[in-house]
């Protein structure tokens, strides 16, 4: 049986060097994310590189969630269609995902709970619950049994898993040994009974140390590395992880993380803290960002630096709270009434997330204006194996920030002084002899409210002038394989990995395709984008939304119309195969 309709037939499992995918499915609360994360770690330690994605519902227990890890012997940043091993912690996993397992793949399931017959895949019947109870002492360890079973099937070294589990459960203060015993039982069960049949043994490659990190962790680390000292936020999926990470580091890193009563308070507190002199951050999702819009304009008008992470999820409104989408771009570009400069950064990978956070703080302070870093659930919740994060690449440039000694030399301080660059040197409140005044009303150079319309005109020009400097800081989009390429795929944000792999697949099939990924989106890099568009015969914009927002922005900023849009708005990220199918 097996109607493989959902696995496009250009799937290339096993054709490239190593490419191995394991999907764990079950109800919320069964620990799929833990298994996925643990396995990703185990393989990372073995010299492989992992990419792990999470698909979960907006509930705490029950329902249906999956965690899918892909393992390669090189950098990986996308999830392709199909899985090699499906671990089913419940029946629904089999119903929904059995067709993703091609011939030669395996389904690990608990035959004592689920009855299965007739599969093209190997059926790996493991008494998960029983082994968990018998060996671990508790049925809840069945996820550890399953993790062990997956490794046993490939006869992969068991020890890294044991170490991982110990470390993890000791931290959580739970019975580490019980878990290890449960995992070992799973391991031995499949190693002994099924590994021959499955016949895809895997051994650690080397012991090169690499990191396994999620998008949210990378964003949070980027803020820490940039010297962020204040964060105020209100919980909202998918950005809460940033707050959680930073909240755990406050003592060690000397920062304050305050949970605000609402998003309005969150952004306004951050603005207040920034005015008083510390690098400040807030993070939210589209709904919370809606409430921050007035504060955004306040930062623009008072020229107060502020970094906002906008982690997108499918809208409108509450939408699908735990899924992914990229439908907030035009909103973010135009949010708040009136006109003021802003920068919008749209990282595509964990590394970019880290480094662009550093850049965000620098731009915010140099240009004294809000900077928005756009993320989405796919970026925020996915994990990457990466080589390293190099803090020496994170410079801290606080812009024209006046020290006490500078001020002593000055003859009267004016917070909003007119300058050629539009940037007024910034002093902090508390400096003897001067006062720092600013206002959400139109103001004069000192910062005092004014209704002098000549000053108004000049202040508008001064603020907008900053766009020039800001624009010059924007790096050109990353291109890949564009040399002589006839078709150009264009994307922004979390689609990076899927785009790149689509290009590889297409070119492997003889096509001539390149990609351009925009991760520094505003001020829009119109010149390099125009050039790239002109070089290709066909250009497709790939976006996780229903209307093709980047395509419209490209049209406004370059005058060019792209050949087509490849869109997706069902809450799930792109696979390379989906992009390829969209080209046809």
């Amino acid at each position: 049986m097996g109607d493989f309709c959902r696995v496009p037939n250009y799937i290339k499992v096993g054709i490239l060097s190593l490419d191995f995918k394991i999907k764990i499915g079950g109800a919320a609360g069964q620990g799929m994310q833990t298994v996925g994360h643990t396995l990703s770690h185990v393989f990372t330690k073995g010299g492989y590189q992992a990419f792990l994605i999470q698909d979960y519902q907006s509930r705490i227990r029950g329902g249906h969630n999956t965690s899918t890890v892909r393992i390669r012997d090189g950098y990986v940043s996308a999830m392709t269609e199909g899985v090699d091993v499906l671990i089913a912690l419940n029946k629904e996993t089999i119903d929904l995902h059995r067709e993703e397992v091609p011939q030669g793949g395996a389904i690990i399931y608990d035959g004592e709970k689920i009855k299965l017959t007739q599969q093209d895949a190997c059926l790996i019947n493991v008494p998960l619950d029983r082994l968990a109870s018998e060996k671990g002492g508790n049925k809840i360890y069945s996820n550890s049994v399953a993790a062990g079973a997956a490794l046993g099937l490939m006869r992969y070294d068991f020890n890294p898993l044991a170490d991982m589990l110990k470390e993890m459960f000791i931290q959580k203060g739970e019975a580490a040994e019980d878990n290890v015993r449960a995992a070992r039982a799973g391991y031995e069960f499949t190693a002994n009974n099924f590994s021959r049949q499955f016949n895809r043994n895997l051994t650690p490659l080397n012991d090169r140390r690499r990191m396994l990190i999620s998008g949210n962790e990378a964003l949070a680390l980027g803020a820490l590395a940039a010297g962020c000292k204040f964060m105020s936020a209100y919980p909202m999926t998918p950005s809460t992880g940033i707050t959680t990470y930073l909240a755990g580091k406050t003592r060690e890193w000397g920062l304050i993380v305050e949970q605000a009563e609402d998003e309005i308070a969150a952004i306004n507190m951050a603005i207040g803290a920034s005015y008083a002199g510390v690098r400040s951050l807030t993070a939210t999702s589209g709904g919370g960002f809606c409430l921050m819009v007035e504060g955004l304009g306040l930062a623009g008008m008072t020229e107060t630096p502020i970094v906002i992470v906008e982690g997108q999820r499918p809208g409108p409104s509450t939408g699908l709270p735990t899924r992914t989408e990229q439908a907030d771009l035009e909103f973010v570009l135009h949010a708040a009434h009136g006109e003021f400069p802003r920068a919008v950064l749209t990282p595509g990978t964990a590394e970019e997330a880290f480094y662009l956070m550093g850049k965000a703080f620098n731009l915010a302070e140099k240009y004294q204006t809000p900077v928005i870093v756009m993320s989405d659930q796919h970026l925020a919740d996915s994990y990457w194996t990466i080589d390293n994060l190099d803090i020496s690449r994170v410079t801290i440039d606080r812009g024209e920030l006046l020290a006490t000694k500078d001020l002593a030399k000055m003859d009267g301080y004016k917070r909003h002084a007119f300058t050629d660059s539009g940037i007024s040197p910034r002093a902090l409140p508390g400096e003897p002899g001067i006062v720092v005044v600013t206002d959400s009303d139109e103001h004069d150079e000192e910062g005092h409210l004014t209704e002098d319309l000549d000053i108004r005109r000049r202040m508008v020009r001064k603020r907008m002038k900053k766009l020039e400097g800001l624009g010059a800081e924007i790096a050109p989009p990353r291109t890949y394989s564009t040399e002589g390429a006839k078709t150009l795929l264009i994307g922004w944000g979390s689609t990076y990995g899927a785009l790149k792999e689509a290009v590889d697949m297409l070119n492997a099939d003889g096509a001539s395709t390149g990609m351009m990924h925009i991760s520094e989106l505003w001020p829009f890099p119109a010149e390099p984008v125009t050039k790239a568009l002109e070089r290709a015969e066909k250009c497709f914009v790939v976006e996780n939304n229903a209307t093709g927002q980047l395509a419209r922005i490209i049209r406004t900023e370059t005058g060019k119309k792209v050949t087509g849009n490849i869109l997706k708005f069902d809450g799930l990220p792109f696979s390379p195969e989906y992009i390829i199918a969209g080209l046809k």
Partner: protein, 286 residues
């Protein structure tokens, strides 16, 4: 020695006879009396007639959004708790648009003084009812008179166990100066709600109306104990023929700054940033 002229600011744009002039004067005198220098003080205001006050002073000023006086004040205080932070708000500003921050800033007990210019009306937008307007107050937007019961800030602050709750009146400037000084010196969140006539738009609660009603608690009830929460709640309900002014409630609570361990090392803005531990931090991810 700090003098009044050190706090001299821009020309005012209030109406003649407005109670705000007295508040301005009282804030200036309070700061001068405490010998605080303008650069040590940060006024954060909202939007409304009250929101203009800082421009008529000369000290650090963050004139924020309508209703959003308290969050930036909180952020600034947490970033530099050596600053004396005073939040200036209107009744619409603070109890209407910004009502949520009012409650939650009280919960935080951060060391900020909140000064509310309570004229029981929306002044700057020309006379609509504010949350503190009385039932029956007629305006162009409330032609049948206000239906909602008046917001009682004192009552709510006591209910939330705010650590310092006082009411002043612009017709009692010296008394007000004293209250403001106590509030500024109080370690924790302090509310000073000030009855402020708005001759342009509040023709009900006029200077005379207030003058005829207010009494100083300390004068008339020397035995009143502001530490007695039940008594304070009872006092908070007094409104009508007799309106108490003075310190109504006072309690000891840990401030947010005291609880935040990071601040024990000094103001956040002055703490050096040390990235040397970053490599160690990354170990978590290996």
């Amino acid at each position: 020695m700090v003098e009044l002229k050190d706090y001299q600011g821009q020309e005012t744009a209030w109406c003649p006879g407005c109670g705000n002039f007295m508040i301005l004067r009282a804030v200036q005198e309070a700061l001068v009396g405490l010998d605080m220098e303008p650069h040590e003080v940060l006024l954060v205001s909202g939007i409304g007639q009250s929101g203009k006050l800082p421009h008529y002073m000369k000290c650090n000023t963050f004139n924020s959004l309508h209703g959003r006086t308290l969050p930036p004040a909180t952020g600034a205080k947490l970033a530099n708790h050596e600053l004396t932070v005073i939040a200036i708000a209107g009744d619409g500003d603070c109890y209407g648009e910004g009502g949520n921050h009012f409650m939650h800033t009280i919960r935080r007990n951060i060391n900020i003084t909140l000064v509310v210019h309570n004229n029981q009306v929306y002044g700057l937008t020309k006379g609509q009812a504010s949350p503190t307007s009385e039932i029956g107050f007629v305006t162009k937007v409330q032609p049948e008179g206000v239906f909602e019961s008046a917001f009682n800030p004192i009552s709510v602050a006591v209910a939330l166990n705010a650590s310092f709750v006082a009411r002043g009146f612009t017709g009692e400037k010296n008394h007000l100066v004293g209250l403001l000084q106590k509030a500024i010196q109080h370690d924790g969140f302090a509310l000073v709600d000030i009855l402020q006539p708005c001759p342009s738009f509040n023709k009900l609660n006029t200077f005379k109306w207030y003058k005829d009603r207010v009494y100083k608690i300390e004068d008339e009830e020397p035995g009143y104990d502001p530490r007695d929460r039940m008594a304070a709640f009872q006092k908070a309900q007094e409104w009508g023929d007799r309106i108490p002014i003075g310190l109504i409630y006072h309690c000891e609570r840990l401030t947010m700054e005291e609880q935040e361990p990071v601040l024990a090392r000094g103001p956040l803005v002055k703490q050096p940033f040390d990235r040397s531990g970053f490599e160690k931090l990354l170990k978590e991810f290996y």
